[in-house]
């Protein structure tokens, strides 16, 4: 009586079915992955583009490229890193392709943010409250939590401030190119970037 024999027969009999199951499972996984990836890409695109339908189109294009070229993905980077880099090129091209994206509408929330930032300084330009030394997270989990906070803070920036920040930090556009694409002066661009970073600093500090 050998327990190994029935077990191996059992295994051999089941393996074709397993592989069919696995294939089916793989399709489900891909669909689920694409769905969650879509949400993630949309968040990115909306921060950078602020035009709902354009953002959705750009994400759609990215997912098509992703599915078409899936076999070329070698796994040196994670799927979402790869997807985000494709989206980045799409968004950069979108900015570079046409002058119609230059329309920048300034809303009152930009001024409100500036006023909030001004309140951190006394009249002599020193800080009203002591600036704390950040305890940087050591573990990966904590670092990821901090990134979530940062992402929420970027999402909470006034529309145009967030857009300029994303063009700079995500797309990697130089100041001059941002000015050109949005039709603003380079002083204005510097002011917005400064405002964005100080706002994010304060936002993260609150969390």
């Amino acid at each position: 009586m050998s327990p190994a024999q029935p077990s191996s027969i059992h295994h051999a009999a089941e393996s074709p079915r397993e592989s069919a199951d696995e294939q089916q499972q793989g399709k489900h996984d891909l669909a689920a992955v694409l769905l969650s990836l879509r949400q993630r890409l949309l968040r990115h695109a909306r921060f950078a583009v602020h035009d709902q339908s354009a953002a959705e189109d750009l994400v759609q294009d990215t997912l098509i490229v992703l599915v078409e070229q899936q076999s070329q993905h070698r796994g040196e980077s994670s799927l979402s890193t790869w997807a985000i880099s494709i989206l980045k090129h799409k968004v950069s091209d979108w900015y570079r392709s046409s002058a119609r994206h230059r329309t920048v509408q300034w809303n009152s929330d930009e001024d409100a943010l500036q006023m909030e930032l001004d309140r951190q300084y006394a009249s002599d330009g020193s800080y009203v409250n002591a600036v704390p030394n950040w305890q940087l997270p050591e573990s990966r989990v904590e670092r990821r939590q901090l990134m979530d906070v940062l992402e929420r803070c970027v999402g909470a920036l006034p529309t145009q401030t967030g857009r300029v920040f994303m063009m700079r930090e995500w797309l990697g556009f130089e100041n001059g190119e941002i000015c050109e694409r949005l039709g603003i002066s380079s002083d204005h661009c510097r002011t917005i970037l400064h405002r964005a970073r100080m706002a994010l600093r304060i936002c993260i500090q609150r969390h």
């Binding site: 979402s80 300084y121 950040w134 940062l150 130089e174 100041n175």
Partner: protein, 71 residues
């Protein structure tokens, strides 16, 4: 043109330095101020950390399958 910038001016230089090369006199004044002011020193560290964090975030680093970590 005072030799010692205010913290507000220093904050502007700190964020500017993430986008453009500062002029030498800006660098000198920035450094002098930073050696004397712990608030601005902390702001400088925060801004540097935030830049790294943004880069990681925007390149997809906030991901379960993250392959590497800079630290």
């Amino acid at each position: 043109m005072n030799l010692l910038h205010s913290c507000r001016q220093v904050a502007e230089l700190l964020t500017l330095s993430q986008d453009e090369c500062l002029r030498w006199h800006q660098v000198v004044r920035l450094r002098i101020h930073l050696t004397m002011c712990s608030n601005c020193k902390n702001v400088a560290l925060q801004l540097a950390e935030m830049q790294q964090l943004s880069r990681d975030l925007f390149s997809g680093g906030n991901d379960d399958t993250e392959a590497h970590e800079s630290k």
